[in-house]
Symmetry: C2
């Protein structure tokens, strides 16, 4: 994998945010030498008994062994008095590793269960990195005593660093809301940079809250909010074999949030923040792009058009070149497969109306659109002029940096 030394120009200027401590969750990370040298590469999160754990995973037909294991375990509580654990390593995806991959998950999850005295079915693992190489699971299991001894409620930023691969910055997001006069906290971390595409949860995302909510209610909330956040981003249209989003609610706040709209909104905000951060760390990205599509025949068609624009190599290279090339947007609408009437389409770059009624707008001045394209955060807006279907997705540009990371180096 390429060695990336430069932080993405789209990284938040303030660095990693100050995340609230979530009562009932402790973190530790360690340099186990799974693949990388001189950096941490394994993180352990211990979650208190009585917590609810919900999640969504990649829909890839070739998903990795840890993903299959997590999917089998989700919703299971074998001992109501026992806690849960998340164990994540970077540097090796343990994907397409056959029976040995399944065995490796058993080794690491079993060792965590023994170390923390919890059922193995309460241990969720994930692996991210190179596909097809055997996971050196003994390097991970031999680090568990140290990880367990180091567990600390304040070490979430270190955990975010340990799960990075081609990421150029650690990603965190938080919200604190008041429910019935009491604070409820949400803190999340994510990793992801390449192999990011729609119809999945993105690479690895872990969110923690001290809210009180049943597992089925939390799962329903996570699934529906995922559709409005991680499933609306794309870096390169390539879907990972390992994508995992897990949310743990410890209940330590004592505040029941089931059915509470404010909590749903705060959770959505944290998920969308993390999704945007993944795009901002897209391999080689120099522009953060929002694509809004309105007036499609339905929401599905609107998303089809938005994703066709966001994934088009010609649109993405035009953005990299700061070229308000609306002809390529027209091309992407046309190829999307969605219902479209050429003469009803309107296109804006930012606030600049570039095309309407099947041709360039009579008031269009290219210098105005070109000025918008020079910004770091761009908006491409398309109105199909048909009905009320709408969708918004987020992506980045396609630059020499992407080619460098993925072609100029051997994985």
């Amino acid at each position: 994998m390429a060695t990336i030394t430069k932080t993405s120009p789209l990284a938040p200027k303030g660095g990693f945010p100050s995340l609230p401590v979530i009562s009932g969750v402790r973190f530790a990370s360690v340099a186990a030498g799974v693949k990388y040298q001189g950096r941490t590469d394994v993180m352990l999160a211990e979650i208190a008994p009585g917590s609810s754990v919900a999640g969504v995973f990649t829909r890839s037909a070739t998903r990795a062994a840890p993903v299959l294991d997590c999917q089998a375990k989700l919703g299971t509580v074998d001992d109501p008095n026992a806690g849960f654990a998340f164990l994540v390593n970077s540097g090796n995806a343990n994907a397409f590793t056959g029976g040995a991959g399944v065995a490796a998950v058993g080794h690491t999850a079993g060792a965590v269960a023994k170390t923390l005295s919890i059922p193995e079915s309460h241990v969720y693992t994930a692996s991210t990195g190179v596909i097809g190489e055997p996971l050196p699971h003994e390097k991970i299991t031999s680090a568990l005593d140290k990880l367990s001894a180091d567990l600390d409620p304040e070490k979430i930023e270190d955990a975010a660093q340990a799960i990075m691969t081609t990421d150029t910055f650690a990603k965190g997001a938080e919200r604190v809301i008041e429910v019935d006069g009491k604070p409820v906290k949400i803190a999340g971390i994510a990793k992801g940079s390449g192999m990011i595409a729609p119809d999945m949860a993105t690479m690895l995302v872990y969110i923690f809250t001290d809210a009180k909510i049943s597992q089925p209610a939390l799962q329903a909330l996570v699934s529906s909010e995922n559709a409005r956040s991680f499933n609306c981003i794309t870096v390169d249209s390539d879907t990972s074999t390992s994508d995992t989003l897990l949310v743990a609610a410890t209940g330590a706040s004592g505040v029941d949030v089931e059915g509470h709209a404010g909590f749903a909104e705060a959770l959505h905000d944290v998920m969308l923040d993390l999704a945007h951060l993944v795009v901002r760390d897209g391999e080689g990205a120099t522009k953060f792009v929002e694509v809004q599509v309105t007036a499609a025949v339905n929401d599905t068609d609107a998303k089809r058009v938005a994703m066709a624009i966001a994934n088009s190599p010609l649109v993405k290279t035009a953005i990299a070149g700061e070229d308000p090339n609306w002809g390529r947007v027209v091309m992407a609408i046309g190829k999307s497969g969605a219902q479209a009437d050429r003469d009803r389409i309107s296109i804006w770059f930012g606030d600049v109306l570039v095309a309407e009624n099947g041709w360039v707008s009579p008031d269009y001045v290219e210098a105005d659109a070109a000025a918008h394209m020079k910004g770091e955060v761009l908006l491409i807006r398309v109105d199909l002029g048909l009905d009320t279907g709408a969708a918004t997705v987020w992506t980045c540009d396609l630059t020499h940096g992407y080619i460098e990371i993925n072609a100029d180096y051997r994985s």
Copy 2:
């Protein structure tokens, strides 16, 4: 549009082939200054009375005015004693140009009809180049007298040059077969380099034959062979608004080829040659890649997998880096949406079996696969181990050259 001065490394070493003269067809080209300076940019082909004309066109929902006009005219014979004409300009696509675009087609097609004394419904136009700019049709119509005077049966190579945009070499292909002891000739030209994707005829292709065949029979043949040639190539997954394939059969050989398998095969060969030449001129391409998928549940699923591999930015950049990164092939299979069982998949690079039974092959030596990747013509073969579905598609790699052509220059 970028100025490309270097010929693709994948161009045929022998240059433009020697194409047979097709009796009943004459060509002319001219430098009309539509956009480019110092080169030809309009070609006219005159086709004898009694010929059959068949074609397929882009399925884009935002297709260009000339495409809509051709589709309306196809199969029409308003005067059995009158010939046909193809008029093509490069430098301007006359796409997304509203009512003015429709009017421009009327101006040019009408002028050709008058110049050659044929019905306007017998004139097929096409335009390729920048989207969204008005076509300076008077530059084309004022060149028609010169074009008409210059018509010559031997000038097909000049015609192939006049229709180029970002192409780095002119593309031609031919076959001569014997039917009942008499020769039947086929000669074709194509242009296309970027905005090349599945589910369409590629950019612009014109094929001529002296075979005798009715229009409906020729149309059926062209449609079915298109599915096995142009619809199986992809450069960048972006579908053009102007793709046009037209085939004219003059009947001058006096040989009726209706239902003749040898003619169908020869026509297929010419179409596939031209399709491969378009991939070999893919923007920035340095590798020509065949992707074979076998043992899918059906042919549709096989093509889905093959196209997911051929369009994956991560696979294409790995090929550019000469990296036998089979993990990315696994990823592409997984995201394709096709039915797949991880533990039944086998993957080869060339003759080298890299993965089987859900993991790396025990006999795999990376140096062998790496040696294959250094070649100019590559094979990625996937056996899904499920049923008899099969598909083969062709693509090229994704390099800095693609970014340079599409991002570093303003269109």
